[in-house]
């Protein structure tokens, strides 16, 4: 597969502050690539460098074969971008917005088809100010697709939308994927990345700390499941050595124990047997496969959303 985006050794400094400190990744044609990271991790800076909106301090970047810093206009002409928190003039009608932006590009999509595809046909003569949040976001997506781009940047496309609308947007993105568009997605939402992305890069403090498909990441980072046990009486601090358990942690009141196991089917009966022998009275027990969220917390020590 051909690479649509190639980034090698990307650095970006604002004065003394280094926002991006050496990032490498490739995005292949037709792939949905997710950038995950807490606020201030360098996601937005990275994406804006790729979109030709910002200059870089160091490194090689190729997007659709262009150097974004050199061929800004040609690049902008070919990509679609959906930024978060953008607006349009209140008294602009939906179809006028599409017509307006279409005029900037060399390749123009059929605006009527686009409106139908994004379920905006009934709203095409509505003023922008009269639209709901979800409709506005669909307009933003429509504008990102107005030039039939092969590469689409979606920056937090569902932030601030209610769950129902978020699902609608997700299915739209899946349609895009089916149409073989390449998508670079940044998001705060783990479920979004898990559902939509072929591959994910986790960025923290200007560096990529892990990269791969969501499943690969989960397995590579843990390769193990997490067992959480709650007892009525405090557990002794000197735990016996269980087979297949790599590490464990006990809460301050000694009533909650978390155990990471590579073979949970083996560890689970061992644990229950031990609690029963000690007469600690089991109150609750969970077996959890790690989520991307866990991966994220494990890797960055931070929650994705505050």
């Amino acid at each position: 597969m051909t690479s649509v985006i190639e980034v090698t050794g990307l650095h970006k400094a604002y004065g003394d502050f280094e926002a991006v400190r050496g990032i490498d990744f490739d995005v292949s044609e037709g792939e949905i690539f997710g950038l995950l990271g807490p606020n201030g991790a360098g996601k937005t800076t990275t994406v804006e460098i790729l979109e030709g909106l910002r200059s870089r301090s160091q490194g090689q970047v190729k997007v659709l074969g262009f150097d974004p810093e050199v061929s800004k206009r040609s690049l902008k002409d070919r990509i679609g971008v959906c930024l978060q928190a953008t607006n349009l003039p209140d008294k602009l009608r939906v179809n006028e917005a599409l017509e307006w932006f279409a005029a900037f590009y060399t390749h123009k999509a059929d605006c009527n088809k686009l409106l139908q595809r994004l379920q905006l046909w009934d709203k095409r003569n509505e003023f922008y100010s009269k639209l709901s949040g979800g409709q506005k976001q669909r307009v933003a997506l429509a504008l990102a697709l107005v030039n039939e781009p092969n590469l689409v940047f979606l920056d937090e496309p569902t932030t601030g939308l209610d769950p129902q609308v978020r699902l609608e947007i997700h299915s739209l993105i899946e349609e895009l994927k089916a149409a073989k568009r390449t998508i670079l997605l940044t998001t705060h939402y783990i479920e979004e990345a898990e559902r939509l992305c072929d591959r994910v890069a986790i960025i923290d403090q200007g560096k990529i700390v892990a990269m791969g498909s969501p499943r690969e990441l989960q397995e590579r980072v843990f390769g193990q499941s997490r067992i959480e046990v709650v007892t009525a009486l405090p557990m002794p601090a000197d735990l016996p050595v269980f087979e297949a358990v790599e590490k464990h942690s006990l809460s301050a009141d000694c009533k909650t124990l978390v155990v990471h196991s590579t073979r949970p089917a083996r560890t689970l009966p061992d644990l229950i047997k031990w609690i029963d022998q000690k007469g600690l009275e089991l109150e609750d027990i969970h077996l959890k496969r790690p989520t991307l969220e866990d991966v994220f917390i494990e890797l960055t020590g931070k929650k994705l959303r505050d």
Binding site: R73, K76, L83, N87, L88, W100, A103, F104, Y105
Partner: protein, 508 residues
């Protein structure tokens, strides 16, 4: 590319037309102003009303238009959306400017039609100059608004700074009333203000007295400001409200005003624009339509009409009405009640010497300032009802100079004509030498002067009697009694004007 500009302009126009506030200030506000002017008796001066309304429209439309939109769009994260499209700041600013033009030019034409239809203002005789000049003014003010928008960080800051510019530009620049009424120091300050050059060009172009080419410094400064403002606004353009500007960048504002600092500094030295301001102020007064009502009228051919009224339009006698006076308001004229008074044609003194101070002379220094004597005496003649004089024996270059300042209206005084030089001035060899060099100066000064000297010489009348006038015309005589007379001959403006002001001072 062109399509992108056209679409932008079309959308900008639609958005503006959907904006009630913008519509009010562009179209309803001038209408209201016309209404007030029409009702308030300002009807005597349709051109002046037009001048003010146009100035208000162009200044307001320019300053509050494009720039303010861009700050608003930046604050509301609208520009952010445009940032990711293949379009640059230049395109956004240029299409904004063109939109402003596309809105204001029809508006200007609309105002001209309104003023013509309801206030009796004549059609502009220099329509191309007018449209080009108004467009330049609009672009200059719009670029000023644009550069303010480029250097502020919030809408409030923009409003504040724009208004800080708006009011001086409006009042000091002579848009609302002629700056000739200001003290001299304030008039000098006004020479540093862009709108001063806008009004000093707009008014005479509107009156058909001048074209673009008579206002090249103003045209140049407005164009340069428009250009600099557009370039700088594009350079300092910010797509997002989070991007802050270095405080030092605010000084770019001064760069945009640069051309006017240069013009102002030049005017401090040359003072030509201050002199022009006097002429403009006089033009405003002269262009009023006035009806002198119920006077006893001497026609100058011996006829005396006991009750007659004279309509003065644009500085000329337009009509004479016999019997009881017609209603002034229906003619959109100011009424001057002259019942019990006598109205005369201006008197003409064909042999005067203006450079000597006159008698009795108590101050020998008075001889040393012939220019001051000229001015004082011409004013005194006019005050006494003498509206034209023919100089005999004054230095020709001085005569030419004073003739020009009086004719333009820069100074008020009797209209001055020159005597044929060789027949009066040559007394002996020394004086001949003086006169020759003076003639040479006069000829060098202006071609008009040379023409007049030549025609004076051709006339060959000397100073001996009342004959034809140096320019070959005969003086105006209001028509024969018993029917209204229409007199409209070039060159009589001064005398009819004088009759209005001073003829009435002679008791009946």
């Amino acid at each position: 590319m062109l399509n992108s500009y056209l679409t932008q302009i079309r959308m900008n126009l639609r958005l503006t037309l959907r904006n009630r506030v913008a519509l009010f200030f562009s179209f309803i506000f001038p209408l209201i102003f016309f209404g007030i002017a029409g009702l308030g008796g300002g009807g005597g001066n349709g051109l002046q009303v037009l001048n003010i309304v146009m100035g208000l429209g162009v200044l307001g439309g320019g300053l509050f238009g494009v720039g303010m939109r861009s700050v608003q769009d930046r604050e509301q994260n609208i520009l952010r959306r445009f940032k990711v499209a293949p379009i640059g700041p230049g395109e956004i600013i240029v299409s904004g400017m063109v939109t402003a033009l596309a809105l204001q030019i029809p508006n200007v034409i609309f105002m001209v039609v309104l003023a013509h239809r309801f206030l009796g203002a004549p059609w502009p005789t220099q329509p191309i100059s007018l449209l080009v000049f108004v467009s330049l003014g609009l672009l200059a003010f719009a670029s000023l608004g644009g550069i303010i928008a480029a250097i502020v960080n919030s809408m409030q800051e923009d409003m504040l700074l724009t208004q800080l510019f708006y009011f001086p530009l409006l009042f000091l620049g002579g848009i609302t009333f002629p700056i000739v009424g200001f003290p001299l120091w304030l008039q000098t300050v006004a020479q540093f203000i862009p709108s001063t050059y806008f009004t000093s060009g707009l008014q005479p172009i509107l009156r058909g007295k001048e074209t673009l080419f008579d206002n090249l410094p103003a045209v140049g400064a407005l164009a340069l400001t428009a250009l600099l403002g557009t370039l700088l606004a594009a350079k300092l353009f910010r797509w997002e409200k989070e991007e802050k500007l270095r405080p030092a960048a605010k000084f770019w504002l001064l760069a945009v005003l640069g051309p006017f600092f240069v013009l102002g500094a030049w005017q401090m030295h040359a003072k030509t624009n201050i002199a022009k301001a006097k002429v403009l102020g006089r033009d405003v007064q002269r262009s009023r339509t006035a009806l002198i009502r119920d006077a006893r009228l001497f026609l100058g051919d011996g006829t005396v009409i006991d009750q007659a009224s004279v309509l003065i339009k644009d500085g000329k006698i337009a009509e004479i009405y016999m019997g009881p006076a017609p209603d002034a308001k229906s003619m959109r004229a100011d009424a001057i009640e002259a019942a019990g008074k006598t109205l005369l044609p201006g008197l003409i003194d064909v042999h005067v010497r203006l450079s000597s101070p006159g008698l009795p002379i108590t101050d020998p220094d008075a001889y040393r300032n012939p220019d001051a004597n000229f001015d004082r005496e011409l004013a005194a003649y006019l005050f006494s009802g003498v509206t034209a004089v023919k100089s005999a024996g004054d230095q020709p270059d001085m005569v030419q100079r004073h003739r020009a300042t009086n004719a333009s209206g820069e100074r008020l005084g009797a209209e001055l004509f020159a005597e044929e030089p060789p027949s009066t001035a040559v007394v002996d060899g020394i004086e001949r030498g003086v006169m020759r060099s003076s003639i040479a100066r006069a000829v060098g000064q202006d071609e008009g002067g040379e023409r007049q000297l030549r025609s004076d010489a051709r006339g060959g009348q000397g100073h001996a009697g009342i004959h034809g006038w140096p320019d070959g015309s005969s003086r105006p005589v209001a028509g024969a009694a018993g029917r209204p007379a229409t007199v409209a001959r070039a060159g009589q403006r001064q005398s009819s004007r004088s009759s209005v002001e001073f003829g009435l001072s002679i008791p009946s």
